[in-house]
Amino acid sequence: MTATATRPSPPSPRRGTRRRRRAGARRTREMWLLMLPALVPVALFSVGPLLYGIGLAFTDARNTRNHETSFVGLQNLTDLLSDGDFWSSFRIGMIWAFSVTALQFAAALGLALLLNQDLRFRGVARVLAVVPWAMPPVVIGLMWRLVYHPDAGILNSVLGTHVNWLADFSLALPAIIVVGVWTGMPQTTVVLLAGLQGVPKELYEAVEVDGASPWRRFWHITLPQLRPVIVAITSLDFVWNINQFGLVYVLTQGGPGGQTRLPMLFAYEEAFRYRFAGYASMLGVAMAIVVLAVLGLYLWRQMRETR
């Protein structure tokens, strides 16, 4: 692309249009040729499976050996919309995704501001803050299961209580939300910290001369300057959180009584436990649409406000 951009402009306007058209066609061809190596894996490993999954959503496919799959149109969608379990799972998924994202953001912002100060052992503290990032979700799940263990758990022995956190109908969801926040904090903190370091020092110096309080400095300089970073990281966090699977699967497997059955766990159960592959695909498609809608709305509003 850069090579073609430096081509000298044609001298004559009439001959030029034809030549330019031809050059444009060749340029497009070259572009496709150069992009091909990158496009093949994308088509093979993302677009292909994606289209296959969307296709499955309109069939009655089952994970069985002797089932004739046939096209059923929107049957799966109508079933889904009238499925009470789906709606309760959807509600739980939304509570989970919104609260984890919000709490993650609040906690990570606090931590990032702290780590941005000139503290002693700042390097060590920064390293410690990203430790949860280095752990796979399954390990985090196992670790927190020990923390919440009704008899041998640290939490119960510290609080002096005897609560079965992960098996209690009303406590299970808050308990896993805490784990979700803990898990997602490092990447949010790192991104916000990077954003904080990009805020020009002159702005702070200027308001300091004007005698602004720390709170006003934060409100009128730090937050507006961080805005693009905040929008990016909260949207990504939201997507990550609503698609969370491994962590919750290890912690509760969706129990007790479906109180922590996030949409992805629900889809997994439908596909691999009850073997309704078509129905589960429709669930995946529906969740994708919902997330895109929520994100679209959020990003659109944010962009309009910035403009």
Partner: protein, 455 residues
């Protein structure tokens, strides 16, 4: 930047959606094919988990491998927690083990889906006659094409018994039930009431310190209430499922089904003879409280005797009592099974291995290792599992009350159990809903679930 991240988000989601869906029907081989003269290799997925049982399983596999150089079996360790998820993916991907250990409730789904081999014509006569017909009934299922087939060899069965604290039982002065003359449910509730009192509760693990506290007659560990409730419900003829003239199966909760539900609920909330702390616990969790004399009787599967025998503090005496009887002493039976994958390349060799693995002598070893009841008649006569020690006599005698659990053949039972019955029964035993709500939800929500499987 923002649009890019939105696009990235879309891609991530799309991928996740695509990953959520699996294809159907893998056909590839499950074990590597072998040239003539080379040893046939079989994978054996075992779910044994108790130490003695794992040892017994491995021992039998070793013995087989030594005696049969032509058919080499690899022991693969699985777990009851996720075996069915694992099998669904392995079957779909064509990598399932040749010989599969599972339990009969799981087989009906796999059989109807065509993943398991119908063993009808392959069973050696000796094996077939050694295991009585009622046990074979627990593994005979609809093949998904209108016929019936045998999809596993049943080998270990579980029955419910009552494990009791001998000291408290004797002190209460109630009649001690025997396999020939068990308690009725009325007598059982009466006995539980008699054993409910303020009494010294052991506070230290050494058993020396005590303090006075509320003692209970019985403890119901109802974290997973469905199978236990359904199996006991047969005492009063409660089947929970009925099949109409049109062949459709529906849920039913009538007076027969309500009996056991109501009686357990009464012990908890009317008689207050059942320890409320045990309610949310898994079967083995109440044991520490049992050893502290907090409650006197623990209704449980026969296998729990193993943990009682192993964990009981010195000097703690316990006995095994037969389960109470209602209008009958019948209990629903499920069996542990060995099946062969439809896609196995060496089904005949796999059958030979199963026939050896489950002969009378080996079944006795397995039963002893898992503290369960063997289906083999030869094994059941083995002196090591009929003696008085550790309640084996009562446990083995209870085998005669086992009948096929009616829910075994219900398509969609697994989904009914986890989506409807488990939360409903948990809420009922926690006294959050009435028995009429239970009946309503089990039937209405349950029929909706079953509907999906009968289209």
């Amino acid at each position: 930047m923002r649009i890019k991240s939105a696009l990235a988000a879309a891609a991530v989601l799309a991928l996740a959606a695509a990953c959520g869906s699996g294809g159907g029907g893998g056909q590839s081989s499950s074990s590597s094919s072998s040239a003539p003269g080379e040893a046939v290799k079989l994978n054996f997925l075992s779910l044994a988990w108790q130490k003695e049982s794992v040892a017994a399983n491995k021992q039998i596999v070793d013995d087989w491998n030594k005696a049969n150089p032509g058919i080499q079996v690899t022991y693969v360790q699985g777990s009851w927690d996720n075996v069915n998820d694992q099998l669904v993916t392995q079957f779909a991907g064509g990598t399932a083990p040749d010989v599969i250990h599972n339990e009969s409730p799981a087989l009906s789904g796999f059989a109807a889906d065509g993943y398991l081999l119908d063993l009808t014509g392959k069973l050696p006569a000796e094996l077939k006659s050694d295991i009585p017909q009622p046990a074979w009934d627990t593994v005979t299922f609809d093949d998904g094409k209108g016929g019936n087939g045998v999809y596993g060899v049943p080998f270990l069965q579980e029955s419910q018994v009552i494990i009791a604290n001998k000291k408290l039982l004797d002190a209460s002065g109630v009649r001690v039930p025997t396999p020939d003359n068990p308690w009725t449910w009325d007598e059982f509730s009466e006995a539980a009431k008699k054993m409910t009192a303020k009494r010294p509760i052991v506070t230290s693990s050494s058993g020396s310190g005590t303090e006075t506290g509320q003692g209970y007659g019985v403890a119901w560990a109802m974290k997973s209430p469905v199978n236990k409730t359904l199996n006991l419900a047969l005492n009063f003829g409660g089947t929970f499922f009925q099949t109409g003239a049109d062949g459709k199966t529906t849920v039913k909760v009538g007076p027969e089904e309500r009996e056991v539900l109501q009686r357990i609920h009464d012990q908890l909330y009317k008689d207050k003879s059942a320890d409320p702390a045990a309610l949310g616990q898994g079967t083995a969790d109440p044991l520490p409280a049992f050893f502290q004399d907090k409650f006197a009787m623990l209704p449980a599967g026969v296998y729990l005797r193993q943990q009682v025998a192993e964990q009981a503090p010195k000097g703690f005496e316990w006995v095994t009592l037969p389960a109470p009887k209602g209008t009958t002493a019948e209990q629903g039976a499920v069996s542990q099974t060995l099946s062969i994958a439809q896609d196995s390349k060496h089904p005949d060799e796999a059958m030979k291995f199963i026939a050896y693995f489950l002969n009378g002598e080996n079944q006795a070893k397995l039963a002893k290792g898992d503290w369960l009841l063997p289906t083999s008649q030869k094994a059941a006569a083995d002196p090591s599992i009929t003696g008085k020690e550790n309640g084996w006599d009562v446990a083995t005698a209870s085998a005669k009350n086992l009948v096929v659990a009616p829910f075994l053949k219900v398509k969609g039972f697994d989904e009914w159990k986890s989506k409807v019955a488990t939360p409903v029964l948990q809420e009922y035993y926690a006294n959050k809903i009435s028995i009429d709500d239970v009946a309503k939800r089990l039937v209405e929500d349950g029929n909706k679930v079953l509907e999906r499987y009968q289209r």
